[in-house]
């Protein structure tokens, strides 16, 4: 199963949600942000090399608490990468390694469209603010057009003061909402490669990630 983690706006924590969701689902997390990669990058080939035909997808996988397919960070690499190859790459990783969570870039261009087109379902990430709803709806429309149903919505980095508009989001988007609290352990989890579901399993953040993962599993079963 391929799960796309998308949300039109940048800097709202798509990568953090994708990484932690990947841990909860025991999936490979693919950093599909071809222009501004976020997931830790080691040595060796990366997604840029794979999309430019220079390496096989499985060669670029990088082990750890969560298996990652990292992406390069150079403009030249982003320029040489053919986004159409991303579809085959995701399908291949899915076939060979089981579930795949794709961390999509911001915006609504083809680098979001291609993962959504091959994804079975998607998870939307949004700021816990009313004005973020417009962006979430736009991304949902694209996902719908490309036949990727919404398995859940993460309202990311909520604080007690926020009073997140959960009901409005649920009503408009028609999908279960998980509020991921602004927990510093979540913020650090990607760089430290310490997913909250394993390092802080009792936390509210881990609960939220697990509820997203449950939504994904339910959507998978009902397909």
């Amino acid at each position: 199963m391929i799960v796309a983690v998308a949300g039109g706006k940048g800097g709202i924590g798509k990568t953090t949600v994708a990484y932690n969701l990947g841990a909860a689902l025991d999936a490979v997390v693919v950093d599909a942000d071809l222009g501004m990669a976020d997931l830790p990058h080691g040595r060796g080939p990366d997604l840029h090399d794979v999309l430019a035909g220079g390496a096989a997808a499985t060669e670029a996988l990088r082990g750890g608490p969560v298996t990652i397919l990292p992406c390069g960070r150079s403009l030249a690499g982003a320029r040489a990468a053919d986004v159409r190859e991303l579809a085959d790459t995701l399908r291949r990783v899915d076939a060979e390694r089981g579930d795949v969570v794709v961390d999509c870039p911001a915006g609504l261009r083809a680098d979001v469209g291609v993962p959504l087109a091959v994804a079975d379902i998607c998870v939307l990430v949004a700021s816990p603010r009313r004005f973020a709803l417009a962006d979430a709806v736009r991304t949902r429309e694209l996902a719908r057009e490309l036949d990727a149903g919404v398995a859940g919505v993460a309202l990311n980095r909520t604080t007690a003061a926020d009073d997140p508009p959960v009901d409005v989001f649920r009503r408009v988007l028609g999908a279960p909402i998980s509020t991921v609290p602004a927990d510093p352990r979540v913020g650090r989890s990607v760089e430290a490669e310490r997913p909250v579901v394993t390092t802080a399993p009792e936390s509210d953040a881990a609960d939220a990630v697990r509820s997203l993962a449950d939504g994904v599993r339910r959507a998978k079963r009902s397909r």
Binding site: R43, G44, P45, A55, V114
Partner: protein
């Protein structure tokens, strides 16, 4: 020129671009019948089809041989493509492939569609530093070396990077002052250090072997001269 075509009619015209060995082919197909008809347009010039593209993706219906699509009932369809070859008397063949079936024969590929409709996400080429003829000497060397790294296969590159890393660690400990050696040792795992000089020595041997092999292969590669044209003329 008009050619009769079971029910359909087509005209073609060719244009050559001055100073470029490229031919632009235009085909105008008319379907006077009261049903939609499928048509197959194949390039007859001696070169690949360069179809119209959106966001780098060929427009719907185009492939490397030409175009396949539907001409609506009592309608017309005008197509055009480029081909890097000289023009000739009959640049295209148009085949009437019969009535269209209503089973959605124009299967859509969601991925190709997404790229075509949403636009190429790659950074514009102007944003990518490229070695050009106008850069000055120091920049040129830098760009050149970057370009060379880029063409090294990933597996070799990752091995070389690992070797470079070990050599750099070794260099920091070579002829170091007490202070800098202490600093360097601070950032090393002490168990590693005894092992480091042995590994760097092994790296040196391996690098020498690779250099020798690479030089031999380079000579052989340079001597290769496949008579492409002659071979192409073989039946």
């Amino acid at each position: 020129m008009t050619r009769p075509l079971r029910g359909m009619k087509s005209d073609w015209s060719v244009n050559t671009l001055d100073g470029h060995s490229v031919t632009l082919v235009t085909v105008d197909i008319r379907n006077p019948s009261p049903v939609d008809r499928r048509v197959r347009v194949s390039n007859c010039l001696d070169g690949p089809v360069m179809p119209p593209r959106r966001a780098g993706v060929p427009a719907p219906g185009w492939n490397e041989n030409g175009f396949e699509g539907v001409v609506p009932a009592e309608g017309r369809r005008t197509l055009g493509y480029a081909c890097p070859a000289p023009p000739r008397r009959l640049p295209v063949s148009v085949v009437d492939a019969g009535r269209t079936d209503d089973d959605g024969a124009d299967a859509v590929d969601a991925v190709t569609d997404a790229v075509r409709e949403l636009g190429d996400p790659r950074p514009p080429s102007d944003a990518v530093p490229m070695p050009g003829p106008t850069v000055d000497a120091s920049e040129a060397t830098e760009a050149e070396s970057e370009k060379q790294t880029a063409t090294v296969p990933p597996a070799v590159e990752s091995w070389l990077t690992a070797v470079e890393d070990r050599i750099e660690r070794g260099e920091r400990l070579t002829d170091a002052s007490v202070v800098s050696a202490t600093d360097a040792l601070d950032s090393e795992d002490c168990g590693d250090v005894s092992d480091l000089s042995r590994r760097v020595a092994a790296d040196a041997t391996a690098l020498e072997a690779v250099a020798a092999r690479a030089a031999t292969l380079e000579e052989r590669a340079a001597a290769v001269d496949v008579p492409v044209d002659a071979l192409r003329r073989l039946p």
